[in-house]
């Protein structure tokens, strides 16, 4: 044994040798948080700059592709002529009502179906049928049943966005820790008390991941229903601008949708982190 090796084994009696400070290998420079954020930002800037450059140098036809500056101009024009505000408000209303209903139906339905086998037996075949089919195929029927109306648009948004919440909550309900349920019952907890004190808190991660998926689906639902059922809101703006070859205005609509999705999912992630502080051991 070399002197160096011997030194490694000699520790003062009763004391653990101190763990080396650099026990974990140092992170590679490109894995550090600041660096990855900078790379992500640079990636967006580079693509936007390249797009702008290609459009201004005539590499691509600006009429068809627009350009970042063209999008800004289009946004200023739409704000100036008073069109964007009402369009955003109309889509936000449809999105809010549709997603709100989808979350309520998905959460309540998910708990009922996941908790009681009899309810599951009634509804699961329908969930399997509807979840596996392209729901846009129902659009003509919705048009016939509800006409061109806000209700029709809401029905479409709900149909498209309810399943991620529903399926996620069903899975969460079935995966609830049965030992915790037994514990609650051993304290004479009623069915309702077990659901409230054990099931609901366990469902939070499932519920949040369902809602996160539902946000994306609801945005799709909003655009689809506005395209086909109302020709209003951001969806209507996109389709009309596309027909008139106003690519800048199309991108304004797309940007608003993308930013809304990003903001909402990141707010949701924050809320979940706040609620689930107990997970940090």
């Amino acid at each position: 044994m070399s002197a160096a090796q011997e030194e490694t084994f000699v520790a003062p009696a009763g004391r653990e040798p101190a763990a080396p400070a650099a026990a974990a290998p140092p992170r590679k420079w490109w894995r550090r948080k600041g660096v990855t954020s900078a790379i992500s930002t640079a990636s967006v800037i580079v693509v936007l700059a390249a797009w702008q450059l290609c459009a201004s140098q005539g590499v691509v036809d600006e009429k068809l592709t627009s350009s970042p500056w063209g999008v800004v101009q289009a946004a200023r024009f739409l704000i100036g002529n008073g069109q964007l505000g009402p369009d955003v408000a109309s889509s936000a209303k449809l999105f809010g009502v549709g997603l709100g209903l989808a979350i309520a139906i998905g959460a309540i339905g998910g708990v009922l179906i996941g908790w009681w086998r009899l309810v599951a037996a009634v509804f699961e075949p329908w969930i399997a049928i509807l979840y596996s089919m392209p729901l846009i195929a129902l659009l003509p029927l919705i048009l016939v049943w509800f006409g061109i109306s806000f209700s029709a648009e809401v029905v479409m948004v709900v149909l498209i966005s309810v399943f991620p919440v529903l399926v996620s909550v069903i899975t969460g309900t079935r995966n609830v820790d049965q030992e915790l349920v037994r514990l609650a019952r051993s304290f004479c907890g009623s069915e309702l008390a077990v659901i409230r004190t054990v099931l609901f808190p366990s469902l939070i991660p499932y519920f949040v991941s369902g809602v996160r998926l539902a946000i994306g689906s609801a945005l799709v639902g909003v655009v689809v229903s506005e395209y086909f059922l109302g020709n209003s809101g951001i969806g209507g703006l996109i389709v009309t601008a596309g027909e008139n070859l106003q690519s800048g205005e199309v991108f304004v609509g797309i940007t608003i949708l993308a930013l809304s999705a990003i903001v909402m999912t990141s707010l949701l992630r924050r809320a979940e982190r706040h609620i689930s502080q107990w997970r940090n051991g």
């Binding site: 030992e179 915790l180 514990l183 107990w278 051991g281």
Partner: protein
């Protein structure tokens, strides 16, 4: 007040046509007595506990203070093998959980009870911590405090120290005597550890396996609190050897 637990010809079969897990168990546990039950794996120790807790159907008769047991009762509390703490509740939230479910105490009284128990199980410094931030021994103390919080007259403990290291286990065994002594409790303690059974029990019941039947009983006439050093005495070793032989034959 501690209660009398009486089992008469208790049997349990999980599926028709299969061998019974428990067969003809007759046992009388007197008020304030601590009975420990040992037996090989598969002898139905936990099943017996679940039947007394009213969590499993059974044949025969189980009565607590003369009242038949068919479903969970407020006067009976269980301490499970794993702590089963609610991960989203702090120590205080977990200790008060049973009380909240039973709703038998006003909120102020619940708070007072939790404060007393925090001192009893020595968890005051960890009162605001979540289970993920507690050691195995601390989690088990929360588990015990949660059961005691509802002021049960019967405490059913299912190998509560089984998953702990030897030192934590000995400490908790010693502490448990102090915790239980002031509570006027009848205790049924399941374990597979002979030494634990002797140290904690006023009486040790040996269950045989396949099916679980009472193979032997041993009264331990040793005053409480029993110091841990007693485990090293000749008397303790004698009890240990007797039970070891009984278990070999069980």
């Amino acid at each position: 007040m501690s209660a009398n637990v009486s089992l008469t010809s208790v049997g349990k079969t999980f599926a028709p046509g299969t061998r019974p897990v428990l067969d003809n168990i007759n046992l009388e546990i007197h008020p304030g007595e601590t009975v420990t039950v040992i037996g090989p794996s598969g002898s139905g120790k936990s099943t017996l506990l679940n039947c007394i807790a009213g969590m499993e159907p059974y044949s025969g008769a189980i009565a607590i203070d003369g009242e038949p047991v068919r479903k969970p009762r407020r006067s009976v509390a269980m301490v499970f093998q794993a702590p089963h703490l609610l991960p989203w509740r702090t120590t205080v939230g977990n200790i008060s959980y049973g009380m909240q479910l039973q709703g038998s105490l006003a909120k102020d009284a619940q708070r007072e009870r939790v404060e007393d128990l925090l001192d009893l199980v020595k968890l005051r410094p960890a009162r605001g911590r979540y289970p993920a931030q507690l050691s195995g021994g601390m989690q088990q103390r929360v588990n015990i405090a949660r059961a005691l919080a509802v002021r049960p007259s019967v405490l059913l403990m299912d190998e509560p120290f089984g998953a702990l290291d030897a030192i934590s286990k000995e400490h908790l065994q010693a502490e448990l005597q102090g915790i239980v002594s002031g509570q006027q409790l009848t205790v049924l303690f399941i374990t597979h550890d002979i030494s634990e059974a002797v140290f904690l029990g006023d009486r040790v019941v040996v269950l045989s396996s396949d099916p679980g039947r009472i193979a032997a009983e041993l009264r331990i006439e040793q005053p409480r609190p029993r110091p841990l050093e007693w485990k090293r005495s000749a008397e303790f070793q004698e009890f240990y050897s007797f039970l070891w032989k009984e278990l070999q034959q069980a």
